[in-house]
């Protein structure tokens, strides 16, 4: 154990943090109606909006996983994590801008999907959004409590409760308004630590010259910016899901309707670049650990960043590092709470329970939702329930829904049946790929699988996953280019990925997670397109604006 803070030290830090966040939330609460609880005044300007999106997008896993990637893969590890994660925000805003124009008074993605398609499709996307934020809450609470317990005498359970109570208290005060005001301070804390502490650690660890010597001693793939191993292990799975990360995340969508409309692009692009810079800065400490021999505490890779900080910084500054992690964790958690409460208020309370709900009733529903989902997160985190199966299915929903969501925003031919069928077929295909692709590849390698089985199943996986890669490329390109060019890019990427897969046979079939993700994407696109075109319907975009109004006393959905 490199350093342990005393109980008074840690309680003082957590206490001051709690009071500052609560005071900020109270100060930010300038409107008290239900609509403002969800989308503020729909005109949050560049500074606050960018800080908020940046702080929300950086969660515990960004810091840990980037550092772990650098520790595992060397110089290119942190780059892959930071770059592809940030790119999601740079690509999603065009879709967001289009949705905002279609439904200016919208609140959530499930609400948009309901008026675009119907209740079945709304439920699928609502579930996807819920699982995304519930999982994020569980992971963030677990990460925060683990760290506090590791570096202080405070128990894991107490740390968990303190974190949850802190976040729920200030979030429940004013919803998205609290989230944005606290995000500004939280991102400030992250910037100070990245800008001051990261260079301080680098120079304290011997400076660039000593680290360069360590790098040349390391050699091989770990010293290369273009490591194939890092690309396949870290970069490619993230690339395959760029748009899916943003589409599935309700915090991204809530801000689409919260920020100033004409600054939407500027806000999302700047926060994406801020994410890259901050996550890369902190992630690069994983390389410092690798080069100087700092080991994670108890072998837990999640402790690399604080372990490096505690090794090379005096106790006071190391304590500031803990605040950085807590800021990253709470800024994402308060946004998840705000986003889930907005779904509960708009899609469930207003949609199913009380169409004429009052402001008071809606806000009560939102606050109760925050308490319940935070309670579930603490429960799961306390008992360390294995949620792997849930996450596996969620990953497939996320991949399978990329094309149906993107197409529903820009293409009038996508129908309710096409939307739902595409997602369901994509999930099934993704799970099947996950179960069968490795045995097929291993069978082929060992010679135990029949040739026909290997050929048929292998060919299906390779063809459909290649189409999935092209689908993602086309969806990324479409908002920025003409449809023909986006189609051309999609087809070119499909052919290139197909060629690489055939050339590398059967190697890539064993990269189970990329292959199943891409298959879910490809099947989602093929089935959604097929079913929609067979139905022959065309959607009238003018329908949308009329059907979405503000919630609360002033709005009738």
């Amino acid at each position: 154990m490199p350093v342990e803070f005393s109980t008074p030290q840690i309680l003082l830090v957590l206490g001051v943090y709690f009071v500052v966040m609560l005071a900020l939330s109270a100060w930010a609460r300038d409107r008290t109606d239900a609509e403002s609880f969800i989308v503020s005044d729909r005109d949050v300007a560049f500074g606050q909006a960018t800080a908020s999106m940046g702080a929300t997008w950086i969660w515990a896993a960004s810091m840990y996983a980037a550092a772990t990637a650098a520790f595992t893969y060397g110089v290119s590890g942190a780059f892959h994590y930071a770059f592809w994660g940030g790119l999601a925000l740079l690509f999603v805003w065009k879709y967001g801008q289009r949705v905002r124009q279609l439904v200016p008074y919208g609140h959530t993605l499930p609400e948009f999907i309901r008026v675009r398609h119907g209740r079945l499709s709304q439920s699928v996307i609502g579930l996807e959004n819920y699982v995304n934020s519930q999982y994020s809450l569980i992971l963030n609470f677990t990460a925060g409590a683990t760290l506090v317990a590791l570096f202080s005498p405070l128990s894991y359970e107490w740390a968990l409760v303190i974190l949850a109570v802190t976040v729920v208290s200030y979030s429940a005060l004013s919803g998205i308004q609290a989230s944005i005001a606290t995000d500004v301070v939280q991102v400030g804390a992250m910037v100070i630590v990245a800008v001051v502490a990261v260079p301080a650690i680098v120079f304290s660890a011997g400076g660039p010259t000593a680290l360069a010597e360590g790098l040349s001693a390391l050699g091989g793939e770990e010293a290369s910016l273009f490591s194939l191993q890092a690309f396949l292990g870290q970069g490619a799975p993230m690339m395959a899901l760029i748009l899916a990360y943003a589409f599935a995340n309700p915090t991204v969508w809530q801000r689409i309707w919260t920020v100033r409309e004409r600054q939407l692009g500027k806000i999302y692009i700047t926060s994406g670049v801020l994410y890259m810079a901050l996550v890369f800065s902190v992630g690069s400490l994983g390389l410092v650990a690798l080069l100087t021999g700092v080991q994670p505490v108890d072998g837990d890779l999640n402790t690399i960043v604080p372990a490096v900080a505690a090794t090379y910084l005096p106790t006071g500054v190391a304590l500031a590092f803990l605040v950085l992690v807590i800021a990253a964790i709470t800024s994402t958690s308060d946004s998840d709470l705000a986003a889930l409460s907005s779904i509960a208020m708009t899609d469930i309370w207003k949609g199913y329970i009380s169409r004429d709900a009052s402001d008071r009733g809606l806000k009560l529903a939102g606050r109760l939702t925050m308490v319940v989902v935070a309670g579930i997160a603490v429960f799961v985190a306390t008992f360390r329930i294995d949620i792997l199966t849930l996450i596996l299915i969620y990953g497939m929903i996320r991949a399978a829904s990329v094309f149906p969501i993107a197409a529903s925003i820009v293409w009038d031919r996508v129908s309710n049946a096409g939307f739902a069928a595409g997602i369901i077929a994509g999930i099934v295909a993704g799970l099947a790929t996950r179960a069968w692709s490795t045995p097929v590849a291993e069978g082929a390698l060992a010679g135990t699988s029949t040739l026909s089985r290997t050929l048929v199943l292998g060919a299906v996986f390779i063809v459909v996953s290649s189409i999935g890669a092209g689908t993602m490329a086309g969806c990324l390109a479409y908002p920025f280019l003409r449809i023909r060019m986006a189609l051309g890019i999609g087809i070119a990427v499909s052919v290139a990925v197909f060629a690489v897969q055939v050339a590398a046979l059967p190697g890539l079939l064993t990269y189970n997670s990329i292959l199943s993700t891409l298959t879910a994407l490809g099947v989602g696109m093929l089935v959604s397109t097929g079913v929609s075109l067979a139905g022959g319907a065309r959607f009238d975009w003018n329908e949308l604006e009329r059907r979405v109004r503000p919630v609360g006393a002033g709005g009738v959905a």
């Binding site: 300038d30 300007a45 560049f46 500074g47 606050q48 960018t50 800080a51 110089v75 930071a82 500004v184 991102v187 400030g188 910037v191 990245a194 800008v195 990261v198 260079p199 680098v202 660039p208 010259t209 680290l211 360069a212 010597e213 790098l215 040349s216 700047t270 670049v273 801020l274 890259m276 810079a277 901050l278 890369f280 800065s281 902190v282 690069s284 390389l287």
Partner: protein, 36 residues
């Protein structure tokens, strides 16, 4: 580029970009909060 130079750029590029963006954002936030 020498190894030392590479390491210097590698470790400082993130903090430098973050600092530049932070200044941009902070100036905007101050203006927005003054207008409240």
């Amino acid at each position: 580029m020498t190894g030392t130079m590479f390491m210097l750029v590698y470790f400082l590029i993130g903090p430098v970009i973050a600092a530049a963006l932070a200044v941009l954002i902070a100036r905007a936030v101050v203006r927005e909060w003054q207008g409240r």
